[in-house]
């Protein structure tokens, strides 16, 4: 069975995969330059800063001299990344030496940024028009609510309390790969769907956004435009209101979808309407590996395999149900138990023990998060043991041979199978052997020749 792995890295991988011309075009936008710079590995950032005011090309050799012997591998990664993103342009000079120089557009934009400083992507609206702006806490709650609602709708179209206006075709795109639908059956989560649910919010968001972007062309939107708009959005100030009339038509269309995902909140005044970016939007350009976006956990696991989840969220309950037996639910507390049966169920759905353990660790309640380990060792060990229990039996298609005419023929057949690395079992007393199915034809040939 092919293992479907959800690649949830970050925005920049997607940007890097754009064609060169599109990339150069993107760098015209100062925000994208800044977002790209921030996404680079530390060493690469360093090189960009160092080369910022060097106009000519720098030879690869002299660059390598900046690095200590220990750091050569890091240096290679950094330079590869820079070339991939076309921040560095590789050229060969007369003496056939590789030289690098900064992408001129990128360079000019960054220089400007350093001297004149960051400008706002868009002027926020004056506060006399936008009365009653939500507080940052309200906004964050709104964003998470919206996101959860979306997720619930994603996994179970019927369960969502308030249907969002994401068109069903777009929703289908999101569901592709996460849900499988057989005829006349309710859609079921696929293996990657389960994995998706256990991911961090940021990683989930990124997955959805990636799907959204790659689907853009079908909707008649240029993916590069969409990327640049999303990156620009991430430089807006959380909690400030921005006039929706400053957006182009395509952007206005996109922002409605983003509102459904919880990236922005739309509000309407008497005449004007405006959008307020939430934390989800401003985190978009951040590298997802950053633990800074870590939110407070809610799960306490005890050594007796009982699990207390302080959460009111229906989604959390659904997620926990994936691998545990929910015993009872109080208004703010979900109590469950991790049992062998519940875990076998999870493994059957393609969730791995490692994913469950990481989920429990990442979402550990602050009271236990400070402890090391945050999830009791006996529980994590047992989860892993139960998983390896399932993997005890390995099924290999095979063929069974017996009734060999003589011991010589049997020995020769064994040796032959060994040569092909296909011998699984031999019983020299009764002249029987088992070989892998894929060498069966060779084996038959061999035996025929022996006759």
């Amino acid at each position: 069975m092919p293992q479907v792995k959800i690649i949830a890295k970050n925005f920049m991988d997607m940007v890097a995969s754009l064609p060169a011309m599109k990339l150069d075009q993107l760098y015209e936008n100062a925000f994208i330059c800044e977002a790209i710079l921030r996404s680079l590995p530390p060493l690469a950032k360093k090189f960009v800063l160092q080369m910022l005011y060097i106009d000519g090309p720098v030879s690869a050799k002299s660059m390598e001299e900046w690095v200590l012997p220990d750091g050569v591998s890091k240096y290679k990664v950094a330079v590869d990344r820079l070339i991939q993103l076309r921040v560095f342009i590789e050229t060969a000079d007369r003496k056939r030496e590789t030289t690098y120089r900064l992408n001129p557009t990128f360079q000019a934009n960054l220089q400007k940024l350093l001297i004149h400083g960051e400008v706002l992507a868009r002027e926020p609206m004056p506060s006399n028009i936008t009365v009653r702006l939500p507080s940052l806490e309200d906004l964050e709650a709104y964003a998470l609510d919206q996101w959860e609602c979306f997720l619930l709708q994603l996994i179970n179209s019927g369960q969502a309390e308030k249907p969002s206006n994401i068109s069903s075709s777009v929703m289908k795109v999101f569901q592709k790969g996460l849900l499988s639908q057989r005829d006349k059956e309710a859609p079921r989560l696929t293996e990657s769907g389960f994995q998706f649910l256990l991911m961090e919010t940021n990683a989930q968001l990124w997955y959805i956004i990636r799907e959204y972007i790659s689907n853009a062309e079908e909707r008649g939107v240029d993916p590069a435009d969409l990327i640049s708009f999303l990156l620009e959005l991430s430089f807006h100030v959380t909690g400030e209101a921005y006039d929706i009339d400053t957006l182009s038509d395509e952007q206005r269309y996109a922002i409605k979808d983003l509102a459904d995902l919880g990236l922005v909140k739309l509000q309407q005044g008497r005449k004007e309407s405006w959008f307020i970016p939430t934390k989800l939007a401003t985190n978009l350009s951040m590298s997802l590996a950053d633990s800074s976006s870590r939110k407070l956990g809610f799960v306490v696991v005890e050594t007796n395999f009982r699990m207390y989840a302080y959460s009111t969220s229906k989604l959390h309950c659904e997620i926990l149900r994936l691998f545990s037996r929910i015993e009872y639910q109080l208004p703010n507390l979900i109590v469950g138990a991790i049992t062998k049966e519940s875990l076998y169920n999870a493994f059957k759905n393609g969730i791995t023990a490692e994913q469950i353990v990481t989920f429990l660790q990442q979402n550990a309640h602050p009271r236990v998060a400070e402890r090391i380990p945050s999830v009791p060792e006996n529980v994590t060990d047992q989860i892993r043991l139960w998983e390896s229990d399932l993997n005890r039996v390995d099924i290999t298609p095979a063929h069974f041979y017996d009734e060999f005419p003589s011991r010589e023929v049997f020995e020769a057949a064994c040796d032959y199978a060994r040569e092909w690395n296909g011998l699984l079992w031999e019983d020299s007393k009764n002249l029987r052997l088992v070989v892998k199915a894929d060498i069966h034809t060779h084996m038959r040939e061999h035996l025929r020749r022996q006759k």
Binding site: R38, L43, L114, L120, K279, A289
Partner: protein, 295 residues
């Protein structure tokens, strides 16, 4: 109090505390005008803020007779990610700087220190360390701190004890002190500070390219430093100052109880009060050679 590694952000998030020398006695004689110096520094601070949205910059002014927090990128961050924007950085910093310099001038007039022209480095170092301690103790996650001294004025031997104490406390809390010395002679204090705390000491040769020096050497976050060639210290001046006359000395007397250093023989230690014995016949035979070796 060393910080637990789990409390740090990933990789390269840094808190840079810059100690800005504003000593009027130095700048009036310097070849590099203060305004030019400032424009290099502002661009540098901005580049630090651009590199990572979680980076923080704190600027402390080191005056002749006083020190003051001039700018803190996190305190103007009522806008979440938009903190430390250049316009804010420029205007806030320049406004505070002006106020500070005027106030400093006032205190010079009120309380002239006499001969020395050094600035109050010990004060600003202590302020920087206090700020870093505050960061260590607050919140769950904090950036990796480091201190950068942009110093031009000569060392003030009378601050020897205070500066050394600050250096050792920085060493204890694993905060490197980088120093960029723009004066004419090398600064023994800063050389020692960087050497002991594992920072970088650099005396730029070309003042026009100050930004390049700053970004190349001092812009490096602590994580990347393990992979990069950075200027190494050659010949650190380890000489100590005596406690009695605050003079830098090669040889002197050391109290065997509290390790205070004196240039002349005393009957009693001025620090801990121990009574010393006989007056030595000859300096060379009896006095201990004072050589402070790095730990």
């Amino acid at each position: 109090m060393a910080s637990a590694p789990s409390k740090l952000y990933a990789d390269d998030v840094s808190l840079l505390v810059v100690l800005l020398d504003t000593n009027p006695f130095f700048w009036s004689t310097s070849a590099l005008p203060f305004s030019k110096f400032l424009s290099h520094v502002l661009a540098f601070l901005n580049s630090i803020l651009v590199l990572n949205q979680l980076n923080e910059v704190v600027v402390i002014g080191t005056g002749y007779a006083s020190c003051k927090y001039l700018y803190n990128s996190s305190s103007y961050s009522n806008h979440g990610l938009e903190d430390g924007r250049m316009p804010a950085l420029c205007t806030r910093l320049l406004k505070n700087l002006e106020e500070f310099v005027i106030g400093d001038e006032q205190s010079i007039k009120e309380d002239p220190k006499g001969g020395t022209m050094s600035s109050l480095l010990s004060g600003s170092l202590s302020m920087a360390l206090c700020y870093i301690q505050k960061v260590f103790r607050s919140g769950s996650l904090h950036p990796q701190p480091r201190i950068l001294c942009l110093q031009g004025s000569p060392d003030g031997p009378e601050q020897y004890v205070a500066i050394m104490n600050a250096i050792f406390s920085a060493q204890r809390s694993m905060v490197p002190i980088d120093s960029c010395y723009i004066g004419s002679h090398n600064s023994a204090f800063l050389q020692q500070a960087s050497y002991i705390t594992g920072g970088v000491y650099l005396k730029p040769q070309q003042m026009d390219g100050l930004f390049q020096y700053l970004s190349t050497v001092f812009g490096t976050d602590l994580h990347s430093r393990t992979f990069l060639q950075l200027p190494k210290s050659v010949g650190v001046d380890f000489r100590a100052s005596c406690f009695c006359h605050k003079k830098t000395i090669d040889m002197g007397y050391v109290c065997s109880v509290c390790l205070s250093i004196f240039c002349k023989h005393h009957k009693k230690c001025s620090t801990c009060g121990s009574v010393f014995g006989e007056t030595p016949v000859e300096l060379d035979s009896v006095s201990k050679l004072k050589r402070k070796t790095p730990e």
